[in-house]
Symmetry: C2
């Protein structure tokens, strides 16, 4: 028999703390709402009007993803606000590869023991990122699970739903040899490769998040690693409406350029990428040199400085790149499509 009667709080789940933390962020969440959101926080499901006037044949585009072990670096630094931004931007970029604009978002926050402050930082960043792209944060779940999560560790998951008119859906079938490959610069690691990066930098290299590493421009290693996942929606979405010659968009996440380009390529096409067309930022060289990671493995694990890739008609390249520059993106031609096997060659 136990010394005192068991309660759910004593067994490791603190509903009150979760409700207190939710009250602290509810204003930010409600600021993401627009005229399509019906009902408020706390119902059994989020309600969003399927009001797609102007679209001939609306198609819902959805995706689910997590931020991976970037949460561990956030814990090392003690700053969590950008993690919310990370998962939103990751998901927005994913559905942008189908040409979709975001409608609504749901988050899942799993941890061993809820810290109200961490939750508030994350939900604050998440709400702000949703507002910036006109997306409603319509639902979420917080779970305290001791024994599943290592003490003080968290996992952060997001699910997104967007919409595209079927006739504007990407990739377009017309991709062909001679089309060019344009790369958009990333903001560091984004949310991929953190298991390898942490092992290389902290375990093998013995570095700390507080170290200032030569070549990183005077920021600490922690700040470099926590740079938020870049959101390409506002720069890219208008161009997708304007230029039919943009055939496909690929988000460079887990698996890198090697695995993500074939996801939007037809079977009889090869992507030939020119290694010297851009210089991977110093953080990637640092990881590679400390841990002697083979080139191929680097390109399979990290974005290597390219966060998003476009395939487009050769004639459009300079116009599209100029427009991307005007929208604040760094972009350049990094290769071309060729007749060949369904693969990527980085030469």
């Amino acid at each position: 028999m136990p010394d005192e009667p068991l309660t759910y709080a004593a067994a490791g789940v603190n509903i009150d703390e979760s409700e207190r933390a939710l009250r602290a962020v509810v204003g930010g969440i409600q600021a993401t709402y627009n005229e399509n959101v019906l009902g408020g926080v706390g119902g059994f499901g989020g309600l969003y009007r399927a009001n797609f006037s102007g679209l001939n044949e609306p198609v819902l585009v959805s995706s689910i993803d997590g931020v991976g072990t970037k949460t561990k670096v956030a814990a090392m630094v003690g700053r969590f606000s950008d993690l919310g931004r990370d998962i939103v931007h990751h998901c927005v970029n994913d559905i942008l590869c189908q040409g979709a604009r975001p409608l609504f978002f749901l988050d899942y926050f799993g941890t061993s023991r809820l810290s109200g402050l961490v939750f508030e930082e994350i939900l604050g960043g998440m709400s702000a990122a949703c507002t910036e792209v006109g997306m409603a944060l319509i639902g979420g779940e917080t779970a305290e699970m001791r024994g599943i999560y290592v003490d003080d560790e968290i996992d952060l998951v997001g699910a997104i739903v967007g919409v595209v008119d079927r006739e504007k859906k990407l990739p377009r079938p017309k991709m062909m040899p001679g089309d060019v490959v344009v790369g958009l610069q990333s903001d560091g690691l984004h949310t991929n490769g953190f298991s390898l990066a942490r092992r290389a930098l902290f375990e093998v290299g013995g570095l700390s998040v507080r170290d200032e590493v030569p070549g990183l421009g005077g920021v600490t290693l922690g700040d470099e690693l926590l740079r938020p996942h870049r959101c390409y929606f506002r720069a890219l979405y208008p161009l997708l409406q304007e230029f039919e010659g943009i055939r496909a968009v690929a988000h460079i996440t887990g698996g890198g350029i090697y695995d993500n380009l074939p996801r939007v390529m037809p079977p009889d096409i090869r992507a030939a990428i020119e290694r010297r067309a851009w210089t991977p930022p110093p953080i990637f060289k640092l990881i590679q040199s400390i841990a002697e990671v083979p080139d191929q493995e680097m390109f399979r694990t990290f974005n290597m400085g390219i966060g998003m890739v476009l395939f487009l008609e050769r004639d459009l390249a300079s116009a599209v790149i100029q427009r991307l520059h005007m929208a604040g993106e760094s972009a350049s031609v990094i290769g071309e499509l060729q007749k060949g096997a369904h693969d990527v060659q980085i030469l």
Copy 2:
């Protein structure tokens, strides 16, 4: 410097195992597809035609949730197939509280180290459960995160999107004193209260999942705890179309009857529940007696034998209950709505 060059597999992420496991379940996933699903497994986002002919003003209803520490009991028993079913049924029931029918589902599977066999069992059950309610399993993510998850532990998350015509959305505003409360029987714990249940049964009580406990009808404790979350969609959805007098539906999940009924109740209404209207199944008595859990805490943590609650016009009660019985549900009147504060009294 490391002994050998670091690779992503050595750093704890095995992309090949994840791809192999995905190939094993892809047939089951594709069996969930219907004419509204465009494109296949592997794109950046799942595509679902927003084709809601017959609905005047379609509203998308979405929710995200996890199965909690029920995963630990599955690991103790070594059987994972029902966890996939658990998360699907949980989510389907949640959006049914708004009157919605399911359209598509996305899953997230987080773990320390991917076991292909566990993944296959879970995705197999998940696909089958989706097929049974006509829902497409349209996306998913698998994440291996050592250092975040305790060794061999998993978290399982699902996001659902469904649709309801705005005029049929629940709860209906007309709820009033005198309406009756009907309870539908649950199949054991469903997916809530497992932290408390495990602590009571295994830590305090010293029981094992292999024990046959008197009163559980000859099944082992493990089998009793792993009974899948009951899905009320097929029994209840047709009745929602037919009977406008069904005012509201509440899914009894975390927080129990106390917290879930007010989620669908107007501010000036109290729900008076008669404790003697049903007998909580033996598993709840076992947990309570071993750990001396107060009555109130039991009703705040567990469903106590009631998985779903309907509020309906008194005159309809016998007709609706009869129809529920014909559909295979056990259902009975367990209380009524009264004028009063926005709370629940269990007397």
